[in-house]
């Protein structure tokens, strides 16, 4: 178990280093120096060289990377954007929690509902609840999120006026308004994953229910609760993996949803940065995405290792 944990942790760190290096090199290989953007088209070559020297941009890329890594890891300082001069820590701190909240709420709702729905669907195969779950699963994966968002805004915000049509109300202005403001975006974000995880739970559980050990459990006269536990311990393994990947994906989807609902999360930070050709900020935002993705998968792996003793056995 410990060795598995260390291996997964090592692998996650390794992925982070590789991705950050790649991002770093890509950002630095844009032919145009950030000085050109900051100083304008009139800047002389000497001014640009001076800017590069001041910001360490004239150093070999490996040296730059080492310096960046040292600052990020040891000081927790993402640095300042050369283009806007703003602290990137500040910008991330302002926007990350908003996106994170949307994703976490959507994820928790999606996974809890889908596991319940998928389980009912498998246990009561070919019953009305199963048809409902299967229909929902097909709809959920086939309806585009941005279209659904627009339809929901038109119906529930504009026509019915149940929810605000957009914008983010912080928690400090009251729980009710806050929840109302994130309800529609979270729903749009959740639907696709609700469908995916429901299908996964259903098919995984159906397979498990056919296994010999479930027959043994039935032959032992175990009650429904025990049977469910015996089945779920096995059926959840692939579901957890999918859920881990989904969490990372949801972060990406959140960008589009935030745009539609006009929510000032990381999508705004990213788009602003792209518009301003603030490559360093873009790099930072993408890095944050990577970290979330890697951590979500790491967590899924750990949950699986805990659920499945064979995994730990294979690793050691």
């Amino acid at each position: 178990m410990t060795s598995l944990l260390l291996r997964r942790l090592g692998f996650s760190l390794f992925s982070l280093v590789v991705v950050s290096l790649l991002l770093f090199v890509l950002t630095r290989s844009i032919p145009e120096s950030p000085a050109r953007i900051v100083l304008g088209d009139d800047a002389t070559a000497a001014q640009i060289a001076a800017f590069d020297r001041d910001h360490g941009l004239d150093q070999p890329i490996v040296v730059q990377y080492a310096a960046w890594l040292e600052r990020v890891v040891l000081a927790g300082d993402l640095g300042q954007s050369f283009t806007t001069g703003l602290s990137m820590n500040r910008q991330i701190a302002d926007t990350f929690p908003v996106t994170m909240e949307l994703v976490v709420v959507a994820f928790v709702v999606a996974s809890m509902l889908s596991i319940v729905l998928g389980t009912l669907s498998a246990f009561y195969r070919d019953s009305p609840i199963d048809y409902f779950a299967r229909l929902l699963a097909v709809l959920g994966v086939s309806i585009p999120g941005f279209w659904l968002a627009l339809v929901l805004i038109l119906t529930f915000a504009v026509d019915l006026d149940w929810f605000p049509p957009g914008g983010f109300v912080p928690l400090s202005e009251g729980l009710g308004p806050h929840l109302l403001s994130i309800a529609l975006p979270c729903f749009c974000l959740a639907v696709f994953y609700l469908a995916v995880i429901t299908r996964m739970t259903r098919s995984s559980l159906l397979e498990v229910l056919n296994q010999d050990y479930m027959r043994t459990a039935r032959a032992s006269g175990l009650g429904r609760g025990r049977l469910l536990m015996y089945a779920m311990r096995n059926a959840l393994l692939p579901v957890v993996t999918i859920a881990g990947v989904s969490f990372g994906h949801m972060f990406g989807w959140a960008l589009i949803i935030e745009q539609i609902f006009n929510i000032g999360g990381m999508s705004r930070a990213l788009l602003t940065a792209i518009n301003q050709r603030d490559y360093f900020m873009v790099q930072t935002v993408v890095m944050v995405f990577t970290i979330v993705f890697v951590l979500a998968n790491l967590l899924a792996d750990l949950v699986n290792a805990w659920l499945n003793p064979r995994l730990a056995a294979v690793a050691s």
Binding site: A219, P309, R310
Partner: protein, 327 residues
């Protein structure tokens, strides 16, 4: 171990005209076509036949753990005076694992891979008995010792994949006997094991069932094994019992040609060398229409009568054969 069985006492299990249908596409086809079988308290009855003869389905139907594509289509399964067919799930669950327990063929797939083996026994124990946590743990150790597992305290924490095949089948047995069942159904319990392990597991099973006085329905295609441990034996072919009697009778004076051919197929060390005898042909497919005796196409004694009409049952006290030529 064979005790000459006089007229058997009131049977513990009495199967009467059991029919099981299997779903083939949109149709239900009967694959078990009227099986009669009985097991007296403490008796060991063998059920033998080729794969597809319906012996495993017959066994599974007793506990009503048939696969979803199979169902009991008729007949009665009377256990201890109660017909189990049609019982509610709740009433059935009171008997499963407590009065009737089952050991399956492959102990690796039959035990839950992500739950420690001790926990699996624990859950069964506490389902059927009012027993405290500590008492249950002690009982599990006692059970594991009974089936010949050393260091039971450590072993109960193991997962199935951490145990050897023989060890897993011992655990499976401990699980089955945990609530002192009256009847144990063993569905080819040693087929998936190494030959060297088989004998030891069989020895253990036999000792345990003697100690606890459990009746056993032993399903196997291994006639030698049947001869060794059973009191009576029923031979199944194409969903029917074709011969049934005390083990000695079946081995010494078999009445059904199928039984005779099966006996000829037992490899012998002493006999003349030569090709292994086999029974030519295949049993009928379960979705084919049966006319006459289902064994007739493979039988070297078959006449036109055999191919035209189903054979009657020939009976003598304690001996049954379903064959035109039996008399």
């Amino acid at each position: 171990m064979r005790q000459p069985q006089s007229v058997p006492p009131k049977p513990l299990l009495h199967i009467d005209g059991l029919r099981i249908a299997f779903k083939a596409g949109r149709q239900w086809r009967e694959v078990v076509r009227g099986v009669d079988l009985s097991v007296a308290p403490g008796e060991v009855v063998g059920l033998v036949g080729e794969s597809g003869s319906g012996k495993s389905l017959t066994a599974l139907s007793i506990l009503q753990v048939l696969p979803p594509e199979a169902r009991i289509a008729g007949g009665r399964i009377v256990f201890d005076g109660t017909n189990l067919v049609g019982l509610s799930r709740k009433a059935m669950n009171k008997r499963r694992g407590r009065d009737i327990a089952m050991i399956f063929q492959d102990p690796l797939t039959a035990l839950n891979p992500v739950i420690p083996v001790g926990r699996q026994i624990y859950d069964s124990l506490r389902t059927h008995q009012t027993i405290g946590h500590k008492a249950a743990l002690e009982r599990i150790q006692e059970l594991l010792e009974m089936v010949g597992i050393r260091h039971p305290r450590e072993r109960m924490r193991a997962y199935p994949h951490e145990l050897s095949g023989g060890m897993r089948q011992r655990v499976m047995t401990a699980l089955a006997i945990s609530s002192n069942p009256k009847l144990l159904i063993a569905d080819e319990p040693t087929t998936a094991l190494d030959v060297t392990v088989q004998a030891r597991v069989i020895g253990m099973l036999d000792r345990v069932r003697r100690d606890l006085g459990i009746a056993v329905l032993f399903i196997s295609h291994n006639l030698e094994l049947i001869a060794e441990i059973c009191d009576r034996v029923s031979v199944m072919y194409a969903g029917k019992v074709v011969e049934s009697s005390a083990v000695e009778t079946v081995f010494e004076t078999p009445r059904h040609p199928y039984t005779r051919q099966l006996l000829r197929c037992i490899p012998r060390l002493d006999g003349a060398s030569g090709p292994m005898p086999t029974i030519p042909g295949l049993p009928p497919r379960f979705d084919s229409e049966l006319v006459g005796c289902p064994f007739a196409p493979r039988c070297d004694e078959a006449s036109d009568r055999c191919r035209a009409a189903e054979p009657p049952a020939w009976r003598e006290p304690g001996h049954l054969a379903v064959c035109w030529e039996a008399a």
